[in-house]
Symmetry: D2
Subunit: 292 residues, 4 copies
Amino acid sequence: MGQNFSTDLAREARDLWQKSAGEVPEGVTARREERQGFVFEAVEIRTDDAAEKLGMPVGRYVTMELDALFRREEDAFARACAVLSEELRTQLRFSGGESVLVVGLGNPDVTPDAVGPLAAEQVLVTRHLKERLPADFAPFRTVSVFRSGVLGTTGVESAQLTAAVVGSIAPDRIVAVDALAARETGRLCRTVQITDAGIVPGSGVGNARQALTRDTLGIPVVSVGVPTVVDARMLCADLTGTEPAGLSPGELFVTPRDIDSRVRDVSRLTAYGVNLALHDGLSVGDIDMYLS
Amino acid sequence: MGQNFSTDLAREARDLWQKSAGEVPEGVTARREERQGFVFEAVEIRTDDAAEKLGMPVGRYVTMELDALFRREEDAFARACAVLSEELRTQLRFSGGESVLVVGLGNPDVTPDAVGPLAAEQVLVTRHLKERLPADFAPFRTVSVFRSGVLGTTGVESAQLTAAVVGSIAPDRIVAVDALAARETGRLCRTVQITDAGIVPGSGVGNARQALTRDTLGIPVVSVGVPTVVDARMLCADLTGTEPAGLSPGELFVTPRDIDSRVRDVSRLTAYGVNLALHDGLSVGDIDMYLS
Amino acid sequence: MGQNFSTDLAREARDLWQKSAGEVPEGVTARREERQGFVFEAVEIRTDDAAEKLGMPVGRYVTMELDALFRREEDAFARACAVLSEELRTQLRFSGGESVLVVGLGNPDVTPDAVGPLAAEQVLVTRHLKERLPADFAPFRTVSVFRSGVLGTTGVESAQLTAAVVGSIAPDRIVAVDALAARETGRLCRTVQITDAGIVPGSGVGNARQALTRDTLGIPVVSVGVPTVVDARMLCADLTGTEPAGLSPGELFVTPRDIDSRVRDVSRLTAYGVNLALHDGLSVGDIDMYLS
Amino acid sequence: MGQNFSTDLAREARDLWQKSAGEVPEGVTARREERQGFVFEAVEIRTDDAAEKLGMPVGRYVTMELDALFRREEDAFARACAVLSEELRTQLRFSGGESVLVVGLGNPDVTPDAVGPLAAEQVLVTRHLKERLPADFAPFRTVSVFRSGVLGTTGVESAQLTAAVVGSIAPDRIVAVDALAARETGRLCRTVQITDAGIVPGSGVGNARQALTRDTLGIPVVSVGVPTVVDARMLCADLTGTEPAGLSPGELFVTPRDIDSRVRDVSRLTAYGVNLALHDGLSVGDIDMYLS
């Protein structure tokens, strides 16, 4: 959380750059379309120059808007999982039976940071089953799950722990799930960002030590992020035009009233979308059954 | 949560009235003092006219500031419990062996609303033990605990449920614990309000149906409240001078980054203060032991 | 938990009486049938004499065996909810728009006792919504939910608290959900008992003070119970033929290895079955949607 | 869990061998003493032959009996932490500022398996703080924490994950915390075993792949284990003299009625004992303060 635009969403960073610079940033494209009733906006950061401007690495950043899910349209959950899984597959570029490590980032004991750990609980884990019963689990991809914890409760950067696990079990792909910071309160728990740029927490492209990217881990990293907080300082700045004195960045957060249930819902959506992306021929009902 | 000043703290309501009216409200007194390193501010609303101005019933409202607790001064927790319990005793006006019902208000599954339920878990329950082993538990007051839940998960107003329980077990006093809304972010989880005016949720003095007060329940009601949220709309209004369009009251909340752990800590303080107030001769260590 | 046969299941009490007396108890009938792949066994205790022999009040006791659910047959969850709801409707004898209070009994913090509280979380609560938006919620029955807690954490018998709530909101029916004790380990979390005899905890028909029955509450009480524990003392007694010295009743429990997930699953089944029984035209998918 | 004597406690394995063989096993010594009111029994397995007989590797196995803690003697918790920490220090053989990795083994979502994860939450983590503020944290040892999860929720053996983390952060010592299986129900949550033999889960000395020992990890491993379950099959076998047909090993467990609160209490004791062992000059009150 906390690029120089105080957002982890590429579409917000793009808008903010455009607003402050008065022009569309070069090397950045954006495309908006509807898929099965859900609005997708794909932002591509194509050049290093554009990456520096927006404070995010080169890559494809797709946001999916969940409004249709919250209008409780018929079959909305199943449709949302399906279109989310399609975008994940596009970015994961499987060519065969690649194995996958799903990394749940964040602190399970802090509600707005619990998206990763909650999603991790609902990912179908198959690595050990395929080892023991290869024939029975042949239709499934090899999937393992790692909950990295956070620096304050482990003493170790989650990127370092993840790299150690990657070195040991040698997956072919990583799917990283994390909570994000946004700038617009209307996006909180109502948007999912899927990107092949991995995860670069903190201060954007500069802080390579903490990054989970193809560069640092040696394999493709697709991340699924859900904005759950807006820094109260940025909300104030956006409203008043000046950053308030006496309010440090990251001290106070703005969250929806029903953050607890929304985080649960969006974590389930994320996990189910990941499950559908990783295994052929699964349905939402199958996942319900396997998880029970 | 949500008087006409959008705060449940009498001291904030008083300040806001003074700011908007340009003068000290008549019928309201305030006194500030330090007790064992903790700042206490006692606001007395003495007249119906003052009650109407501040949007809160007549009564004594004492806020205790917890800064010394968070500076981790030596023995700070034990001292905080002690001074909190003293104020509770002052307001409970025991003359002998009065029985007490502790009511934990709020939703245990919504972090900023969980102060009441979390405190309820740490209150020493004695009513059934005194009935079975009267001699062994003679030194203890008769204490029972009721978790009222919230309208959305019970279908019934918590005041109605509490009244039913009061009618059935006939306690002599009620201690109600609840989360509050504040106006100043600096007070979140850093202040406790103790009042003999009971609890009047929602729109202040008008909404008698939902109130837990001596008037509605027939016995003295002392409430302990902890502000955990500021309405994002009010924060914006305070910063910009106008209420933001497109942001409904109660839609977005401002909370501290570490709300989960702060709510746990302040709930424990509240429960321990209540335990010390209700039983003579207890220490913090005794409560630790009884709760394990 | 703990009739004189150390079971809360009428079918076990019947079998045990037959085994010890060498004959079928008079005034007790039993019938076994399959409904949509699930085995139902209906035991009717018809006379006071039979009630005394089995240590359970007169009434209809139906056990539903969940084996088909755990074999993960197609649509097993939806079918299980449907047949459970049919039996509930049979026993609830609705003639029109009766209102219902669902009571979740037990301790949410003790896994094998958490069936009631966990089910309560998944019951659709409508009472407050129907009051506010009568037209929108016309198709729904009036449902409220009460979590009674347990004596050790409230100081008050759950039957007394329930009676107080019944007196205040005046429902027409009660559905009580609770964990039970069984005698056969093979039934743990694999059986649901539905009975119109209500709940008579502890020592069977004698202990009227703690009972939730039509007699004590004045309205029909249907209870849904799930056996989650076998008293280790009874398991030993069954295996060795003598009750072991030095092992008190209720001191040690036998539970399945995966009690935590099984209790979650069976609580969900119970809640969904109740929801389907109380509202016409609902589907499992609808409940998923309303609860999210 | 599950040596050939179906116990993870060396003192039980020793007693069972003696009972079955009719003689004291050679190469095994045992000594019993009281320390500050707590009974300690030290079993030393000295030879490979003895290790094979008892199904446990060579090492020092000390059990501490917690009865004094549950009698609620004055200061019992502080005394228990102190004597536990002394034994840990004896086995950890620090000679200077060695760094320590604390590994919490087990499944946080399965009550009797949650000792490791619950203890991990209460271990003071210092590694990141010492890196950032070396002067301020000079008095503290470098401590990091790893929660390994279980095979079913990660897909990877916990020993493999732990080895990967050890390789990455290179600690000097490991303290592993885990739940154990016992044979005697009276020891459940009432005994702590501290051993320098590390952890060899499953089938005893044979299964090196899953072991966390000096041999597999290259550094000293001290483990703290708490028995929380007895296999119901073994309880039956002990009572009847024959293993019951139709009851698989590990299918049903015997646990205390109040397993949830006992597991919480003993996890706290374990964590506090570890904290005191790792840092000089700490008190129980200090840990309370740092954890809040």
